[in-house]
Symmetry: C2
Subunit: 319 residues, 2 copies
Amino acid sequence: MKIVALAGGVGGAKLAHGLSLALAPEDLTVIVNTGDDFEQFGLRISPDLDTVCYTLAGLANPRTGWGLKDETWQVLTQLKQLGAPDWFKLGDRDLATHLERTRLIREGMRLSQVTQRFCEHWGVKQQVFPMTDSEVSTELLTSDGTWLDFQEYFVKQACEPQIVDVHFKGASSALPAHGILDALEQADAVVICPSNPYLSILPILAIPGMYANLIPKKIIAVSPIINGQAVKGPLAKMIQDLTGSAADATFAAGFYRERFDLAGYLMDDQDSSLVSSVRAWGIICDTCDTMMPGEADRLRVANKVLSLAEACSARTENL
Amino acid sequence: MKIVALAGGVGGAKLAHGLSLALAPEDLTVIVNTGDDFEQFGLRISPDLDTVCYTLAGLANPRTGWGLKDETWQVLTQLKQLGAPDWFKLGDRDLATHLERTRLIREGMRLSQVTQRFCEHWGVKQQVFPMTDSEVSTELLTSDGTWLDFQEYFVKQACEPQIVDVHFKGASSALPAHGILDALEQADAVVICPSNPYLSILPILAIPGMYANLIPKKIIAVSPIINGQAVKGPLAKMIQDLTGSAADATFAAGFYRERFDLAGYLMDDQDSSLVSSVRAWGIICDTCDTMMPGEADRLRVANKVLSLAEACSARTENL
């Protein structure tokens, strides 16, 4: 079964890792959000792309989920002493990624080509694509009328401002990175990882051509909400801000079914009481323990997702 | 006595350090070559400026003369693993300087302002100026007709090509950094440090306005050649390439007196047999042990330079 996964950062990376353990390398393509990308100190930083690649390579810091394991912090310590901004946690080894990415892009390489080159160096055999090679920036409108860029909101203001709208600057004139549409064409199913729908998945969907190529596919999503809470990040608070309702595990299913025909949905066992609500929307729904700290958990959840995808395909054949 | 020193990298930094130990902070201004500046990984790198500032701050690596002491190399190690160019030795702590410089310049600050800010952080109380805030690049014409930029020649090709000409791209439209002309105006003497005349001092002199403001001053130079050899770098070979003659310690005196009225010249004790040749040019000439590994040596040589400057002033008064 050929799978295309859509992923943001840590949560998406963990499921992508699980899928990489369950599938042959040529059967998995991961499309990664780049709406959070930014420049710092003149360097091109792609947080979600790095998190996904580091995780697939087995290089990720197991404690944080982002950054590299066995990291050191000499540069950041010295930056602090110079009075430089230190809100983005640049590790020494991680910094080499940003330096070389910046160099290659300045030499004329596209972000997707740089990513491919890095994956070769790191031994990542799956295809990993940035959603686009164009510059797309996630911006958030706060209740006091200010547009914040993503890192300003997420890191510097620690997700505290109330959000009333989200916009992806540059998306309307962007193109999917070369290779994405082919991968979607060949995919048997698309897996939407347990990433933030507003901040990680919507930017991918905002790239022209993405929807049209997703719609014919079986699409399976994994809930990023467990028992009313996001595993990581500001999603629960954003849902409250943007919908006026408390977050629950059916949220992502409802969010995606407004946009396309969601075929399957996986929630956590803690939310099994909500399965019937999702099934009432005509979506095949199942639960499992969706926490994925280690490889065994990631493989287990990935296999559950693949079973759901097969069930969705079987249902279509029976129609 | 108010002194302006012209300096390149390691040798210039050592004498500037000596002068900083001999003079009140407000009496020393150092003008530093930026013809070697370049961009790597998108970062603005100013090798001579950093060497001078690190040395004045007591932060320089005592073994190499460049870079920071107690340096670590995590980023460079990781860059190598990524297949990135590693010819320029970027230490982790040094990298913080380049990152923050790049950030501040991208925010609109001038290089001289960044340098002032860094000096405040590092506790350097002397004025240190880049020769210009404009981009000036030293380029070297090789005997096979190729123009090489400085880092290409100096680091990548290890100074091996034969040089037939030197050019400072951008110099004719550059201006001295704000504050330099005032410092020169107020100076009692100008000290040309034992730096490479072609690669470290000529670029400073190539900035319009610099000559006109130097000429009225007592100018004292220290020989960068000891016993026919450069203490560091390609100078002896360049002298052979560009003049057809072997290097000797009178070289810099002859080089500068072709350009302005050189008042004083300090050579190493090993070259005392050449003192009479320099004196024959009407230049007050003296010798001492000009090697400056430690603070005591630097102070000793600086005091010798200041005595020469006083002797030059006294001679003028007697005329």
